[in-house]
């Protein structure tokens, strides 16, 4: 064998190495694109990119977002009844496209994976020439795609992302979030929990083991401890665990009388169902009724958990049962087109598309820096959430937060949640350099118009 191995001679190794060096040396020379900004629309149409999970655990949320985005495009182009265009406080949009250009869109599948989401987003930017990307049903994906849009020089309008980090330590100049965040959930929920369950409670947290779970757990712990609750334990659970029984059994003997489930999607459905099956909610601990709290709710989760959510408190960005004019107009046109009410992820995506188009119209340009300037500090109303501010310092929307409860006697299959309280915006506000949002170190950086 040793003889044969000598067959790869030193000369050959040298030759191989040289070939490599020569090959690298012939790298092509470069000229950069000479556009004013990335994907400047030149024809009679402008393209938006809708990047949502169409496969994987959040597919249901993603497909509902896509419905709302398609509806928004129709309304922008003057098809259908115009939805929230008629109630939107800014009247810049006329239903004739954006800046006179018809709106076209492309869709992509994030698969709820940062990698796939970025690949889909890059193909939208490089191949289809989109000027804005909207979507994402997970904070991990939103943060990843937001970073990409910042580098590429287009605007990112975040869809459903609830982690503090999206507009906290990972905030970007080209990224904007309409959805609320974990901190706001905590600030809105705590007073309601105080009234419902009192000040002397012992909470046990089960938390999805990733950034969204951590920031939500920290927020809820902060606010419940402010009302006098004690945090007994916080157990991190892997995402997509499926079976939570081994995590729920210890809760019974921990002396806790409230279980906080920092879970989302299928995980929340499973953990809540199992907690109910273990009889937690029928228990008396420390002389008090045992309770369960799910800080972040969605209609699709409520649907999946069925009767188990009855009486369980949580928070939401928006609910289709609100009575303001914007909500009613949106629910009507969504219902007529798809035969079902929109979820809160659908509403946030619809609002984001409208807000972007409106900002372009007001700025008079698709240049991301001009659009960002038009969005920063923008105050508006009529998109279903009441008076809202797009804060300039961190690109987070500030608006009322809904505290909801699983309905005891639902009248139909969509009537699963009831709004308990509308927490006013002032109560959920915080400083842009709040320590839960990256402190003083977190900056937006400079706006990037791309090439």
């Amino acid at each position: 064998m040793s003889d044969q191995k000598k067959g790869i001679s030193r000369r050959r190794v040298l030759k191989t190495g040289l070939a490599g060096i020569v090959a690298t040396g012939v790298a092509p020379t470069i000229i950069t694109n000479a556009y004013g900004f990335t994907n400047e629309p030149t024809g009679s149409t402008v393209k938006f990119g809708f990047n949502v999970p169409q496969t994987g655990p959040y597919a249901a949320e993603g497909l509902d977002e896509l419905r709302a985005q398609q509806l928004a495009v129709e309304h922008l182009n003057g098809i259908g009844d115009g939805g929230m265009l008629s109630t939107f406080s800014s009247k810049a949009l006329k239903g004739n496209g954006v800046l006179g250009k018809q709106v076209d869109y492309v869709t992509g599948d994030t698969q709820t994976k940062s990698d796939a989401a970025r690949a889909a987003a890059r193909s939208m930017i490089e191949k289809d020439g989109v000027v804005m990307i909207n979507g994402g049903s997970s904070s991990g994906v939103a943060v990843a795609v937001q970073g990409l849009c910042q580098e590429a020089g287009i605007i990112f309008m975040a869809g459903l992302t609830h982690s503090n980090d999206t507009t906290g330590k990972d905030r970007k100049a080209n990224g904007f979030r309409h959805f609320f965040n974990a901190y706001m959930s905590g600030a809105a929920l705590a007073p309601v929990l105080k009234t419902a369950y009192g000040t002397d409670r012992r909470a046990y947290h089960l938390t999805a083991d990733y950034t969204w779970g951590w920031t939500q757990q920290a927020s809820i712990q902060l606010f419940t401890e402010q009302i006098g609750w004690e945090t007994v334990n916080n157990v991190l659970t892997p995402v997509g665990a499926g079976d939570f029984s081994s995590y729920i059994a210890p809760v019974l003997n921990s002396g806790a009388d409230v279980l906080v489930l920092n879970h989302y999607g299928g995980d929340m459905i499973n953990s809540l169902t199992q907690a109910v099956q273990f009889g937690l909610r029928d228990k008396q601990v420390n002389g008090k009724q045992f309770e369960i709290v799910v800080p972040l709710y969605s209609e699709l989760m409520a649907d999946g958990a069925g009767a188990n959510i009855k009486g369980v408190y949580g928070s939401m960005n928006w609910n289709w049962q609100l009575s303001d004019a914007g909500t009613q107009a949106f629910v009507k046109s969504f219902g007529e087109k798809y035969g079902q009410p929109p979820s809160n992820s659908a509403q946030t995506c619809y609002a984001q598309v409208m807000l972007y188009a409106d900002a372009v119209e007001r700025a008079g340009s698709f240049n991301p820096c001009a659009v960002a300037e038009a969005l920063e500090g923008f105050e508006f109303d009529g998109l279903g959430n009441g008076p809202t501010l797009y804060r300039a310092a961190d690109h987070q929307c500030f608006k009322d937060v809904l505290v909801v409860k699983g309905k005891e006697n639902p009248s139909n299959q969509y009537d699963t949640l009831e709004v308990v309280e509308i927490t006013p915006r002032a109560q959920v506000e915080y400083a842009p350099n709040h320590e839960m949002f990256g402190g003083d170190e977190a900056t937006l950086g400079a706006c990037n118009p791309g090439a």
Partner: protein, 404 residues
């Protein structure tokens, strides 16, 4: 040339030509036509073709030659990506230090995993590698969060040290100032060709590692590996200790995977834990089998095939279908859309799955066997002369994967 036979040199030149001309070859339809949907000549996808090509070439050295099916190669892909992003964070946006670290670290990692896993063969080896990869994934996902940033993925922040960066240094991945995302756009008539720096960087590396793999296939070392596939017991009776060879093959293919992972982060400065998930390991197995295990070119074609489906077919939504069939009368149009739509858009995996089944059933040797069969129809030469005409390694390939 370069220690290759004339035939192999021709083959290498052919591959080099294909790789360098990719931006033109993948853009066959004019921008204005409705078929432009199927063009794949944009930087991100071309980069992915080259990178996953490298990944599959490396995997093929292990699986194609020795027949050892590793289900854990995504772990090395992840290690490579994390190394590159960490080098961005600590040093600067130059990709070179990161890529070197990626190859070295994944090599070390492969040595550790390989040393343990190769104590078993067959299904037990596959399970062991799968277990290690899944462990790495979970470690990256939650335990090593300070190192990997968990689910969010590792990113570069302005607050990172980046000690080699001065004022005005390039803020995006580059090779000594050559920015990876820069492109030259060349309009020719209705066509638009994009020549991207990042693509050519990966392409040159891909050609180089393809050459190395060609040399390994033709070397005595490659012969031993193939002998291991055919009959390992007999080899040990002949007094040859096969484990060092296996380990070497495992480490080499691990380094290929690390390089591919590093390049992924070199093109796009983010590393996520899901790169290490078992589905990513499974993907490279699919690529290799779809293209043709044990052939030189097959895995690269398989990689291109899967990435093409993932990126092009998943973007065909209902409104695109409406555009296509718009001219037809309404009932026909609705019927066609109802038939086609489950297979495109969110159904792209369904189409890919069907194709995979068809390939495995009818073309056990993968795309390469298909190409060979088509070639033999046109060539009309005596069948016996066929294998000799082919650039790939002829023996044992066409039949074997079916028996794997």
């Amino acid at each position: 040339m370069l220690g290759l036979s004339a035939k192999d040199t021709g083959f290498l030149l052919f591959v080099t030509f294909l790789t360098l001309a990719t931006p033109i070859l993948l853009q066959p339809f004019p921008e204005t036509s409705s078929l432009a949907q199927f063009n794949a000549g944009y930087p991100d996808l071309m980069q992915r073709f080259a990178i996953y090509g490298i990944f599959a070439i490396g995997f093929n050295i292990l699986f194609g030659l020795t027949g050892y099916l590793s289900f854990g190669h995504a772990a090395f892909l992840g290690v490579g990506s994390y190394s590159v992003v960490w080098m961005y964070k600590l040093l600067s946006f130059n990709v070179l230090p990161g890529l070197i670290l990626a190859i070295v670290l994944s090599g070390v990692f492969a040595l550790l995993i390989g040393y343990v896993s190769l104590r078993r063969s067959g299904i037990y080896f596959s399970i062991l590698t799968l277990a290690f990869a899944q462990m790495s994934y979970n470690l990256a996902y939650s335990v090593f969060t300070p190192l990997t940033n968990g689910e969010t993925g590792l990113q570069v922040y302005t607050s990172d040290p980046q000690i080699l960066m001065g004022e005005g240094s390039t803020q995006v991945p580059n090779l000594f100032g050559l920015v990876m995302q820069d492109s030259i756009k060349l309009p020719v008539g209705d066509w638009l060709f994009t020549f991207n720096v990042g693509y050519y960087f990966t392409a040159v590396i891909a050609i180089f590692v393809f050459y190395i793999s060609l040399r390994i296939f033709r070397s005595p070392f490659g012969l031993i590996l193939r002998a291991i596939k055919t009959n390992r017991t007999r080899l040990s009776y002949a007094g040859i200790n096969t484990r060092p060879y296996m380990l070497a093959a495992f480490v080499i293919s691990g380094m290929y995977a690390g390089l591919a992972g590093g390049l992924l982060a070199a093109m796009d400065p983010l590393a996520g834990a899901e790169r290490m998930q078992w589905t990513a390991s499974g993907e490279v197995v699919l690529m290799t089998i779809l293209g043709g295990a044990g052939t030189l070119m097959g895995p690269v074609l398989g990689a291109g095939f899967i990435k093409y489906f993932e990126n092009i077919f998943s973007k065909i939504n209902e409104s695109v279908l409406h555009d296509w069939f718009g001219a037809l009368p309404e009932p026909v149009r609705d019927f066609l859309i109802a038939i086609v739509s489950p297979f495109v858009g969110d159904g792209w995996q369904l189409t890919l799955g069907l194709l995979f089944v068809l390939v495995v059933v009818f073309l056990p040797g993968g795309i390469m066997e298909g190409a060979r069969r088509i070639g033999s129809i046109f060539r009309r030469k005596p069948a016996a002369a066929e294998p000799a005409k082919l650039p790939e390694t002829p023996p044992a390939v066409a039949g074997d994967p079916a028996g794997e």
